[in-house]
């Protein structure tokens, strides 16, 4: 999100990540980092009238205590990570 020369910068832009799933289909690892717990899950279906956004979000607790949000983009089947 930019507007004019370097005027506006998006905050909390999702970062592409590789996620390993467990037997139940829940995220188990982000790259080399183990996920200790999935705290919350929700789904967003939006903007179907232009570029559909269909995502499943997971708020997870990583090994070491960090809290992050993951989402699976059901359109591209890619995993992304951002801050809660």
């Amino acid at each position: 999100m930019r507007n004019g020369p370097d005027r506006l910068r998006a905050l909390n832009v999702p970062q592409r990540v590789e996620v390993e799933l467990d037997a139940c289909g829940s995220p188990a690892r982000i790259g080399m980092v183990t996920i200790e717990a999935v705290r919350e899950t929700w789904r967003i279906d939006d903007e179907w009238w232009r570029e559909p956004i269909t995502r499943t979000y997971y708020e997870v607790l990583q090994e070491g205590g960090a809290r992050v949000v993951l989402f699976l983009d059901h359109v591209t089947h890619e995993w992304w990570m951002q801050k809660p």
Partner: protein
């Protein structure tokens, strides 16, 4: 580069409601009235409220109309953050006479590193007494020698000095000294002796921890009320609930986190000079050269974080004569024009008697930087208290000068209602 100094033994000097106390010091009639300071950000909400006003139900954050509705006699005072900051800078300078290790935490709160001062002042009682005396000399509080008494208990001891807003806490690390200061009455010092930290902290309420309201609420919901209850939990359990911040809280509660006071040595004199190709006699040219030299001296990395208090201009004249102008700024500044003003006046009124071959500007004394105090304060409210807009503008200009590009941004709401987190907020350059 500035030198960093650290000390694990710390004295916390705390003057709650610092802005209000400054106003009462310059307008003594306010001390007997219900008074509220208005927030310096122009929102017309209350920022600091005197105990008399608080008794009438007035609280910080209320609008003026709400406050006057609760207390018709309430006296409203516009905040003067620059004045408060100057007073705080005076306190910091006074504390630096006791110890070179002084860290400004927020407006009204500073830490003094006391390691190694035993040789000068003896026991901690002597050290805190020296701090009280110095703070009295800078006008922050009144003190008489007879007024200091001491008492001891199993856990800690206290020094008492009436008629003072300054509260002192002494202990190992900043946290213990801060908690001790919160227990001190005005004009008193609470000393937590080495080895007694655990016992002292055990009975303290969780409110002494640096908690945000959400964490405080969650801890409360878990039934935790005191530090000893938090410290009794397994560290891993606290970390899993609260992440890295939880680890720090747990270690603070257990008395395992000893954060040292970090001070900085004042910079050596800064000199910028120019030798003219041909001697210059025109005042306009000299004034222009003076501006350029001041700019150059202000850009010196050693000056960052400090305001100039004493400036001198030396001129070497033709035929071996010389000219000197010096100025002590009542309000130390990092602004070129404010520093140049008294020198230019001198240049107009008593110019050099001959053409100048070499001109030199010298900063010889400094005061802690306003922007430093404000920007590095522990919380955003403290920054607002000390004149946020003005401080940010100066800091942004300094950062631009130093690294050639803006590094300060506003966070603005774009679509705060959006269910997609990346669409809610954005950064926009902080314009100066």
């Amino acid at each position: 580069m500035t030198t960093q100094l650290t000390s694990t033994s710390a004295a916390c000097c705390w003057i709650p409601l610092f802005g209000l106390r400054c106003e009462e010091a310059r307008r003594p009639e306010l001390a007997s009235r219900p008074v509220a300071l208005l927030a310096p950000d122009g929102t017309r909400r209350l920022w600091q409220v005197s105990p008399l006003a608080r008794r009438a139900g007035v609280k910080p954050g209320l609008t003026v109309s709400q406050a006057v509705g609760l207390c018709a006699a309430l006296q409203l005072v516009d905040a003067d953050p620059v004045y408060y900051d100057e007073q705080f800078a005076r306190l910091i300078a006074a504390l630096r006479e006791v110890s070179p290790v002084v860290e400004a935490a927020e407006l009204g709160r500073a830490y003094v590193g006391t390691a190694g001062l035993e040789g000068l002042y003896g026991e901690p009682e002597g050290i805190v007494e020296a701090i009280l005396v110095r703070s009295a000399e800078c006008g922050v509080r009144n003190i008489s020698e007879e007024s200091i008494t001491s008492r001891n208990s199993h856990e800690y001891s206290a020094l008492r000095t009436p008629h003072s807003a300054l509260r002192l806490g002494w202990g190992k690390g900043k946290f213990v000294s801060w908690v001790a200061a919160t227990h001190a009455r005005p004009g008193e010092a609470v000393i937590v002796r080495p080895g007694e930290e655990g016992k002292f902290l055990a009975s303290q309420s969780l409110a002494v921890l640096p908690l945000d309201s959400d964490t405080h609420r969650r801890l409360h919901q878990l039934g935790l009320k005191t530090l000893v209850q938090l410290a009794a939990l397994p560290e891993a359990a606290v970390v899993s609930q609260f992440g890295a911040a939880g680890r720090r809280l747990w270690r603070l509660a257990a008395g395992l986190e000893v954060e040292p006071v970090v001070g900085r040595a004042a910079p050596e004199p800064i000199v910028a000079a120019i030798t003219f190709f041909s001697p210059v006699a025109e005042r306009a040219s000299l004034a222009h050269a003076l501006d350029r030299l001041l700019e150059r001296a202000l850009k010196d990395p050693r000056r960052i974080g400090w305001r100039v208090q004493v400036v001198r201009v030396r001129a070497e004249l033709e035929h071996g004569a010389s000219w000197l102008a010096a100025a002590t700024l009542k309000d130390p500044s990092a602004d070129r024009d404010r520093i140049a003003a008294p020198l230019k006046t001198r240049l107009e009124q008593a110019p050099p008697v001959g053409a100048v071959e070499r001109l030199a500007v010298e900063f010889t004394a400094f005061a802690p930087g306003t922007t430093e105090l404000q920007l590095f304060a522990r919380d955003a409210n403290a920054a607002a208290r000390a004149g946020r807009r003005r401080a940010l503008r100066t800091a942004a200009q300094e950062i631009k000068l130093r690294i050639k590009r803006p590094m300060l941004y506003h966070v603005i709401e774009v679509q705060p209602w959006s269910r997609l987190p990346e669409r809610r907020y954005a950064l926009i350059d902080f314009d100066t």
